[in-house]
Symmetry: D3
Subunit: 284 residues, 6 copies
């Protein structure tokens, strides 16, 4: 008897019960103000993941030795932001309730907000490590409180002062940098200072949010708002390894891949590869 | 003394006081469920309009003999649908209050709703002629009442039974076709029946909404949801001429150009050309 | 409990036991000599099928009223032609053995050969209706007997004289047209003569193979070898309806969509739409 | 001993002495005002010609039965218009002096001027048949007398009144249409009236200039200034056949293919196919 | 009363009288020999500038604190090189006469020549700092003295020996490198030596010409002649800061962005960002 | 008398008798499993080579001082792997028999196998230096022994243990890395260790195979399987110089350029430039 067609991120086809990490997609980009398309990110990552290997020569680990599960994309209502966010939060709660680690593929960065809501509900002491080109600390964007550009501000309202650590930030308006000074720990331009942060967070519960546009646009053009002067893939890979091997990741995401701006496929392939490294670095 | 850079649709640089028609852009596509990008439509039309001539050999009229004005694009808040629609409605009211005809460049089709609100406020007897590949008569789309897929349903709530005339419709779900039967006049697949409708509406107030995807995708690929089997450009051009020379156009729009899917520029050029024909056909 | 991600052609998610038609993909284009990429066809059709509706206003039928099943893509070995063809033949045999109709998404046209082998094995009296821009009647192509350019020649070796009916053919070398004269019924350039053929094949077993490049490149650019001067989508749609409502379809395919040449998505959308019409036309 | 790499339009590899028609490329687009790129036309046509067959099922003739020669592209100096035109004129004179028919691949339409100069030098009674979307009858364009937009005006200065026959014209400014009325025979929009013109020119010397943008942009997007509402490929093919079988072609060109706007390759393939039909229709 | 649509580079909408820097576009690429398209540069930079912020976290300055003015694009006649260059020179003279700093967006590199002519007319002691991948020191290119490939040679004829400082040069023919040895100061491959040059030019009048292809093609693909092995964005940004904070910039340009080769938009975004840094670095 | 059109890699138009290096293209990609298109590599390199200079400022050498010959592309039968490989081997043998150095442009990496067969036939002591992102050491790929993914395994069967030196490798399955440990010398991720290898191979016969995907995808996106984290162009250029000035190159190739994934042309330009450096570095 033939089986109905299944499609998962490469090697994420474990039995649900066995899975340590559960992937899902949040194909939402309704508040994107400049160039939309992050909604197509999860599908592209799933589909192009078959161009990478399951084995990492960097970590000498193979995905086939672990149990990952891909639960597919949510169907989110465009133009109804709150409703979409609620659907995301519910999925994250479900995964957490099953004792598994939720790994969300965005979508625009706003999708991180409901994930943090759900994670904070379970782990009230959670810290957030945030890689991004943009500070995302605005109070609102053109009047919208729920916006990709204010997502970390909203997260700060949940987790409070000095629990958000930003790296690679190289764009924002003057006010958000000003506002952030006393409330979040912003490391501009690079990963300088990451060692110290990891040292301090050793063994603690951390939600990790990766806005892929932290990468230099030369290595990652496939995003809505490319910002010249970013970090290199190998720097990102090593930063991920450092974090994941030292803190306790309780939830994570990779957002803002917009495949329409990735004509060559290079960005999608890089996204898949860093996802593989994230998955493997978490496994002991 | 040098002037600050102005950019208008070709030959739409009259003095505001003189203008008979006032163009504006509504770069909004927040409820687009499939492929976004209609937000880029108005800018693309303005920019590429310099590839067409101001003279129409079809009508033997020249835009430079009339007074058109391009008031630019609204800045609309993504993710806040009602707020964006209000901004559009206000712009249309302003233009109508000045005794001019508003011509809106979309954006997704939902932007027609606030335009119809404003027009109906001034002309309570208005009829709507609607060219489109899609019926857009759903009551809601994934729970959203304000959606491109339900825009004509919302318009019907304003203008009432038997005041909407649809042509070229070749896609929809079974329910919307069913629902529409008693309430709107749907001419499927082509412009068959347009003669009769124009006859009946002769001299009456009409809002004309052109979803450019009524065109066959071979002639107009630059749209979010291409539907094979559409009408040809010359058919559209003649239909526009027939309507505009016989009814009293009190407001109009051209929506759903999504230039990212128009790599060759052919769709944008066609959109500009039909806009020229619309502008000139209205002029006596 | 969350489900592993499934992905099917729209509304092809019946239980296998109930399914009347079983879809599968044959992502193979190893013998394509000019521009490869048909291997990406099945995935693209599946993914973009969500841009069309399940309801056909042409047929007034809805896919959700019937039972279709999508069994996914075969994993075929590139560079090993015979091995790949065997895998395809086996899949078709499996579906036929279950009393269901196999519907294959190509892939290059050579994939039709193993499907015809399997169908002929069950229905030795089968006729073939073949829509294409190219005759595909060469004895070999650069020495290769198993080639997209000789697939109908190979099929003729199976079904014999006067059992293949070609329509829309507008390209080939002089020899293949010459050779075909006595052996296959070739209708050049259009669907002229289809009425008579359908009349003669009424109620008989027919394998239908649709090389999508029979469509004019203006409506279907997404193919390896575009040939100007083809048929229009509406002509194809009506031809399909005529055939499917009169003969007994025992197997079918749609091949040669090469999505990399379909930057706008128009070709993929057209392919999905004609597949919907094929599926619905078969249902009584 | 290995040969240095040769590259010709398909089947245009005769010995020079035997050749009846000599092709060359004029990769020039220096005066193109809107979107450049016609300079890439000749190379693209040569390269993609291997996607078509040498045999025409429309004419039942095969290129391999005749002697065509491809002499390659001229190296033209951009920014020095007169110098470039002189180089073209010299190439055409060389070919004419050898008793052969020159077939030029453009480049922008201005390249027709030096070809007409050379042809008129040998055949002072020459008529011109001109297929185009644009009238090209301006006296100058932004002060430039030598411009793609004024090429037929310049040709008229050479051949005089009533010797230019235009078809398919659907764009221009009011003045050029006005000016042309007494001096050239302009058939707007289509090939209507071609029968009569061919009748009158039977057996006479004709230079044929094909601006490929006469085709509808749906079939030919690959050009700098697409104009909706053009002719279909099959109409063009039949018009060419009618002309070429009745008049005496003494020189010809195909211009304005701009392959960068032909992402799918459909336009280049259509250009190659109409070139084949032109070459074969000339042969008795 | 509605305003006619204005479009400027982001935050360059001061009153003309207040403006310290005046931007204009020179959309000219008529002598480009390889791949044209730099004519589209100024429009693209203006349009995409809204994807960057007005605040620079590198300089801790905000564009909204200063007065910049964008006077739009010149309308230049293609194919008439001298005429186009004169129009550019006149615009630069106008801006200089008003006591403001002209900032030109190219266009191909030849547009620098008339700007240098105008600047040298006012500041006869001007030095030129030139960032580029190409030496541009040829005496002529295919006979053309006015060519992108000979622009610095022409500038040398104006400013004389030892007043041109080149950096990042990694392409040219042997002769131009040879010729330049005694006459211009060429720093190959990188910014090595810039410190010393800036030291020597401290407080002096400098025209700065930035051919954006000095950037590595990985960070800046959107140009006609990409040359592997270039400088990184952050190196460029720091070099600009060093120069602009130490010398007296009396005129400047950024040329050779060709947006058609920038499918992802990354190059245009980088160009906008470096323009912001240039504008802000000049402000005390 | 006009010459038939010739097209060679820039400055590779020597007389055959004089040529020291003979280029040919192997446009084959039949076993490519992920994204095909390397078949278009040789043509693209030849055509775009005119965008680079013949002079290298890195080496201070000019191609016009040496004798290179471009013998064009083989016509290879797709879908018949062995037959295609035999045709390649024969071409390499011909070139070697004439006492010249064969330089093959791929095509997928499998084309290296027949080149190594031919070279090993003449130089039984040959070593192989292999730059690549992928190990290519699988025994088979989906059952195919002749596959791009197993090409170095097949080469190892010819040259034996410890004669293959790999650099830049950053992808593969666990088994191939394991297998290779005792048999080939794999330098992962970078060119670390190249000095020592070159030292050991000084003056010895070496076949050099360059899979261009060894470059970081930011500098070389135009390939089927991009792998983030690669080497930079300048590193590659210097590595090539080191090798070519010290060992005795007896054959070489540059493979896996897939121009369809190189929309900007940056990869093709980089490939041309490294080919120039390879050609010049070989010349004493």
């Amino acid at each position: 008897m033939l089986k109905r067609n299944e499609e998962t991120f490469i090697a994420c086809d474990a039995e649900y019960g066995d899975a340590e990490v559960v992937i899902f997609g949040a194909p939402f980009d309704s508040t994107t103000s400049f160039r939309p398309g992050a909604r197509f990110g999860p599908k592209a990552m799933r589909s192009e993941s078959f161009g990478i290997e399951t084995y990492s020569p960097y970590l000498d680990k193979d995905m086939t030795d672990y149990s990952f599960f891909d639960s597919g994309d949510l169907e989110l209502s465009f133009g109804r932001v709150e409703s979409a966010l609620n659907d995301i939060e519910e999925r994250v709660r479900t995964i957490l309730a099953a004792g598994k680690i939720p790994f969300m593929f965005g979508g625009e960065h706003l999708v991180t907000l409901p994930a943090v809501r759900a994670v904070h509900n379970k782990y009230s002491d959670v810290h957030i490590i945030h890689f991004d080109a943009h500070a995302d600390l605005r109070d609102d964007y053109l009047g919208a409180k729920l916006s990709h550009a204010s997502v970390m501000r909203r997260c700060w309202e949940i987790v409070g002062d000095n629990r958000i650590y930003q790296f690679g930030i190289r764009s924002g308006d003057r006010e958000e940098f000003e506002w952030g000074k006393e409330r979040v720990e912003t490391h501009k331009f690079s990963f300088d200072g990451l060692d110290g942060v990891v040292e301090r967070l050793k063994g603690k519960n951390v939600y990790f949010t990766l806005d892929l546009d932290v990468l230099d646009p030369s290595e990652f053009s496939g995003t809505g708002t490319p910002e010249a002067g970013g970090v290199r893939f190998n720097e990102l890979r090593e930063a991920v390894k450092l974090i994941f091997e030292n803190v306790n990741i309780v939830g994570l995401d990779a957002v803002e891949l917009s495949p329409h701006y990735d004509v060559s496929g290079v960005s999608t392939a890089a996204a898949c590869k860093i996802v593989r490294e994230m998955l493997l670095s978490m496994m002991k």
